[in-house]
Symmetry: C2
Subunit: 418 residues, 2 copies
């Protein structure tokens, strides 16, 4: 069978499954999620044996230790994927929930109700846990999904897909509700991105290169998750101890993620006192500071920052630091160099707090809290699909609700238009 | 100046204006809308004189009477555009309204708040009123807009843009909040569609060819408004008089619009009685009927339908009619041939009404009411930008709220992540 006909069949199968899936009850969807979790545990030996094939190939191909680590599926990984599914089963079902009901003057009762998007395509890189996480979120939100993982994880993904498929069949769910692309040809991605009649949404999960490739080649709407160049602005009126805790947490607690602080902005009148304190603590945690001229004057050990530092998403123990004139300069810096992801202000001034919250154009803006809270679970949305940095459809963390849309249900008793 | 640098400047100007516009108060936005309305009335003689240049060129180029009619701007058109702006001024402002507030266990107060999308690009065909309608909706929702009308309306659009620009300046609004592309080169559209850094959303308004061109060439998310192949299904239990009123209204009241009925589906047990009644009335209004085999048996004057008729958006006094076995056959027909726009069932059976509302995958589904109600004004959303047939971001009528997105505003008192 050609790659073209394989992709064609996947798309057609997913479209049919989506129609059936849209009206499956919450209980049945939850039962299917639990069944997948059980099936994975039961088939753990097989899944691990298939994962070994991927790991062997990865070593032969000279993948880095970090990449091999992300590719590895062991009992702990399987347990954690299964727990993730149970967590999703416990979340409220967005499908059928109402976004408003009202009666028109002519008596028409209008109800805006949440429905699944239909068919979602996921294009991702090596981590096999994405297969299970996204399958769970899509199923719970009533969407059929086509999963296209990296070629380096193909055996692991096929094994996981086998568990999913058997669990779906045993719980009477549409068999094509979750499908993986069974071939590793690159052509399959390009073909998938052309299936605008069958696929409603594409979500790329991976590095910037993957996302750009998908955006440039897709005829289907794409939910983008670009980089997070997150800022904390420490205002002149900040509580110094609080500012220190927040900055330390935002940089150090998990530096490799998109909601970690990458640039610290400090008001000029607090810089002399604040910077040595926080720098001491950050240095103790191994953080390298790249500072503007004034920062380097206050912190002689800082590396002078170059222009690229203000744009950088380090995802590492490196921090750019800039002393600014006031909140306007801080917000201008964020508007110029930021990525509309997450920004925080630390202040005790009411007016400046509210201005920052209102005027900063990022998916999550915080006052007196760490940037690390931009996360579906932390904000109370439940498990998430990623954090959208584009404004269309969803901006910020994407939970189950963001995998749905609304339709208008209208009940009348004979109304016609005059 | 090259077309490339013109488009580059427009995009840059719009991005700057968007930042300023996002925090302009509702009162000031409404004042600007009213000022544009007044300015247009005041400058009506100039606008009409510029419109004459377009009309002369249109006649020279042999445009049809219908096209010339749509291009014409007279006192009535200007009055109607001004009234449209006043209506938008009267609608609630979505910006700043809350989509939910909750407190997390750690005390973080999370508020999901509506914000403008940023910069919207509109690509449209001849009707100059689109210039004013869309400028009004974008301004009220806090978005900067770049308008690219058809070359045949360039003088009219420039004249309208002059009124807008003067009114914006007199009311202290950002001057680049509304800009039109001042050149008619086709290249300008292609260039505009590449400005993904500056433009957040593209809305094509026009025929299917224009929409497909935009979708294929845009790197920016596109809100699509494809065709409306709308169905009414008359169930066996329908009140015959109500069904007749609804079908007549859906087909005849305004046949040239996307929410008019194009295909009538009738339950087999009611066809013998119902079809002659409705056919008589439709014939009286000049409607041609294209029927399935059974329909043609019942209505000897009907033209036999061919396969293409089931896919057709006639936008004319033509109706496809099919007799179906039951509600399942009706819904299967809709799933296969429909365009996910608007479908109605006429029935007195509770279970079938609810099944139809739940299972039919269209942006507006109605029971016992005319398809003509799929309209922002009729559903209570206020003036609209069109009706989205894609599920991303908005599905169905797009009012002011659909021109916004949400961000998360988080208020803390020192929370860090553990």
């Amino acid at each position: 069978m050609t790659v073209e006909s394989i992709v064609g069949q996947l798309a057609k199968g997913a479209r049919e499954a989506a129609m059936a899936l849209a009206s499956v009850s919450t209980t049945r969807k939850n039962d299917a999620l639990k069944a997948i979790a059980e099936k994975m545990i039961e088939q753990a030996p097989y899944i691990k044996s298939q994962n070994v094939l991927d790991l062997d190939a990865a070593r032969k191909n000279g993948l880095t230790d970090a990449m091999i680590d992300r590719l590895t599926v062991d009992d702990k990984t399987i347990r954690s994927m299964a727990d993730g599914l149970l967590e999703v089963a416990g979340l409220p079902d967005p499908v059928g929930s109402s976004d408003g009901t009202w009666i028109r003057p002519n008596g028409l009762a209008v109800n805006r109700v949440r429905i699944p998007l239909g068919v979602i395509g996921i294009v991702y890189e090596s981590r096999p846990n994405v297969t299970i996480d996204t399958a769970g979120l899509c199923l719970k939100s009533g969407n059929a999904v086509i999963l296209r993982g990296g070629s380096e994880a193909i055996h692991s993904n096929k094994a996981l897909a086998k568990s999913i498929s058997e669990a779906l069949s045993e719980t009477g769910m549409p068999e094509n509700a979750v499908q993986i692309v069974p071939v590793t040809d690159r052509e399959a991605v390009t073909l998938l991105l052309q299936k605008e009649e069958e696929i409603d949404l594409i979500i790329p999960r991976g590095g910037e290169g993957l996302i750009r490739f998908v955006v440039e080649n897709s005829k289907i709407p794409v939910l983008k998750h670009y980089k997070g160049v997150c800022h904390v602005y420490v205002d002149v009126s900040a509580d110094a101890a609080m500012a220190e805790e927040i900055c330390f947490n935002a940089k150090v607690q998990r530096p490799g993620v998109c909601n970690a602080m990458e640039t610290l902005l400090v008001h000029k009148d607090t810089a002399d006192a604040f910077l040595p304190e926080i720098a001491g603590r950050l240095s103790g945690a191994g953080v390298e500071i790249r500072g503007c001229e004034q920062t380097c004057r206050i912190l002689p050990s800082a590396v002078p920052a170059v222009a690229d530092d203000w744009y950088a998403e380090y995802l590492d123990l490196i921090l750019a630091v800039r002393v600014v004139e006031n909140i306007d300069a801080a917000m201008a810096h964020i508007a110029r160099y930021g990525s509309q992801h997450t920004e925080a202000i630390v202040t005790s001034d009411y007016g400046r707090a509210e201005r920052f919250l209102r005027e900063v154009d990022s998916s999550v803006v915080l006052v007196n809290a760490s940037t690390r809270f931009n996360d579906g679970g932390q904000l109370g949305l439940g498990a998430e699909m990623g954090i959208s940095t584009s404004k269309l459809h969803a901006f910020g963390p994407m939970g189950l609700r963001e995998l749905t849309t609304t339709k208008f249900v209208v009940r009348g008793d004979g109304q016609v238009r005059t």
